[in-house]
Symmetry: C2
Subunit: 316 residues, 2 copies
């Protein structure tokens, strides 16, 4: 293993000079710096991040916490995770995956990315000692990145209108969380701007609940209706039941999902959906968290990423 000392010898300087070239190059004369850089090249020197971690009282590890009690095969989080991992790799950080809340404080880490946090989690979040960032809207002042949920449903609703669907119904989630309010707001505001009256159902995030909903109310739904769904999972249930009822998609009924992660592609016909850039958000979250760690916990603010409408076969 090539160490600082090796480079120092090669360049005929002290270890400290080499260290400075790496961490505070402006404190070193150009001559010496060139010399040292040359030596690092020829020896193929790479700093030992463990030694750096020890002296800086860091671990070079952050925890990726999934609070939602989901089936872990949920493809949604994978994108986030891979984006996050990519962001971490740039800075030689590794991660630990946490699904059991008990594990959060165990062991060592420099900070946390927390996903799926609900209002009820805020109590213990306040008590965390290490820096953390959230994936998901919150109005508590925590740093976060999220999709611009309101803009997303605005785009979806406007698109449904532009396709001349006469009735637009929103099928949302029965949770009292910011992201849901934002999505509904995007829908409601757009309808009101067009002098239309919002109609909202709320169910759990399962395709079978969506199926039941459609089954129960199918007779009330007239042709030229578009369903704006708060998730692809719900949209799939809607489609399935509409097909069972022999309704024509997309001619008589339109369906628009939300997420654009995997499910939209296995649906048949393929789903028109509001696609979140989950991978990208993961990457950004890594940057945000590492920066926050580097700045010993200073606030990083809020970032909203505008999603994109993917037009496929469930809208005309």
């Amino acid at each position: 293993m090539v160490t600082l000392s090796d480079v120092a010898k090669e360049a005929n300087v002290s270890k400290m000079t080499v260290s400075r070239v790496i961490n505070h190059p402006e404190q070193v004369t150009d001559e010496l710096r060139a010399l040292v850089e040359q030596a690092m090249e020829t020896l193929e020197y790479h700093p030992n991040s463990i030694a750096q971690a020890l002296v800086n009282n860091r671990t070079n590890v952050v925890k990726f916490v999934i609070l939602e009690d989901i089936d872990i095969t949920e493809p949604y989080y994978v994108n986030l995770l891979f984006g996050f991992a990519q962001g971490l790799a740039k800075k030689q950080y590794a991660l630990q995956l946490i699904t059991d809340p008990e594990e959060i404080k165990k062991g060592q880490s420099d900070g946390y990315l927390i996903t799926g946090a609900r209002n009820s989690d805020y109590d213990w979040l306040d008590k965390l000692e290490k820096p953390f960032v959230l994936f998901g809207e919150n109005h508590r002042g925590y740093d976060f990145i999220d999709t611009d949920n309101q803009a997303g449903e605005k785009i979806a609703t406007e698109y449904a209108l532009s396709r001349l669907y006469k009735r637009i119904i929103f099928i949302g989630l029965d949770v009292k969380e910011p992201f849901e309010y934002s999505r509904e707001a995007g829908y409601i505001n757009t309808l009101q701007k067009n002098q239309m009256i919002p109609q909202i159902y709320r169910i759990g995030n399962h395709s079978h609940e969506a199926q039941e909903l459609i089954k129960k109310h199918f007779k009330e739904f007239k042709k030229d209706t578009c369903f704006i769904c708060a998730s692809d999972r719900i949209a799939i249930g809607v489609i399935r039941q509409l097909q069972t009822e022999d309704a024509r998609i997309p001619d008589d009924f339109g369906v628009i999902g939300f997420d654009g992660v995997f499910l939209d592609q296995v649906s048949n016909p393929k789903l028109t959906t509001v696609k979140q850039s989950i991978f990208k958000m993961g990457d950004l979250l890594a940057d945000m968290l590492l920066q926050k760690i580097a700045q010993s916990g200073s606030p990083q603010g809020e970032v909203l990423i505008t999603p994109e409408l993917i037009r496929r076969k469930t809208t005309r």
Copy 2:
């Protein structure tokens, strides 16, 4: 932060005695050990794994390498990843996620879990300097864990026979890899034992290829046929086309998948499939890799996990 020294002071012993209690307890008298353990309790001491890593020339990080050029949302790997992460957590290890082969040698780690390795990868695998284990059968002598592919298709084929399907057709993958040979062998051997003649198609692992296959040959398929598919993805394509042809599932045609990860549950009707214990294999792989690292690279052997048949709605 509580350190060795703190515990030593508390227990009125030297740092080394504390260190020994942790790493070589048998070298310490019961008295002192009790004293030290008591002190560790009251101070809530946890070893600093970074310091350990530095002195042991370890990083406490391993890399999770995905070689297959897959859509990263593929739910298959997520289970493995989470199982692996859980196994690592027991030993305070963290992981780095690698999808770009270029990144494999960059940075530091103590070893690798490599998934999706093909024959063509063996060259550079031989040159890896750190210990590694594979997820997936190989006959090169590398340590690995995999599903018992042959047993899996044997179970599937026997089940199809027991449900009195008269013809059993295997739809496999057109790859020349050990796992595919094993799956086909499980099917072929079982048929031959029953004096039946194997019939095998091979396609790429996409539902639309399966759809095309069924469409092209549908007229040749008689009633009472069961399709044994080498993946759930293929099975879903088969189901979809059978439905399009107005074939009756499961009465006239049976379909059995392989994997049992996510896709089997979004299919409609729900898929009978050979379910791999991917999560468990991830956990075992972590144990295997960490042990291999601890034993500075000594061989760990091969482990085959028998999969389980999940009976659902696509077989009668």
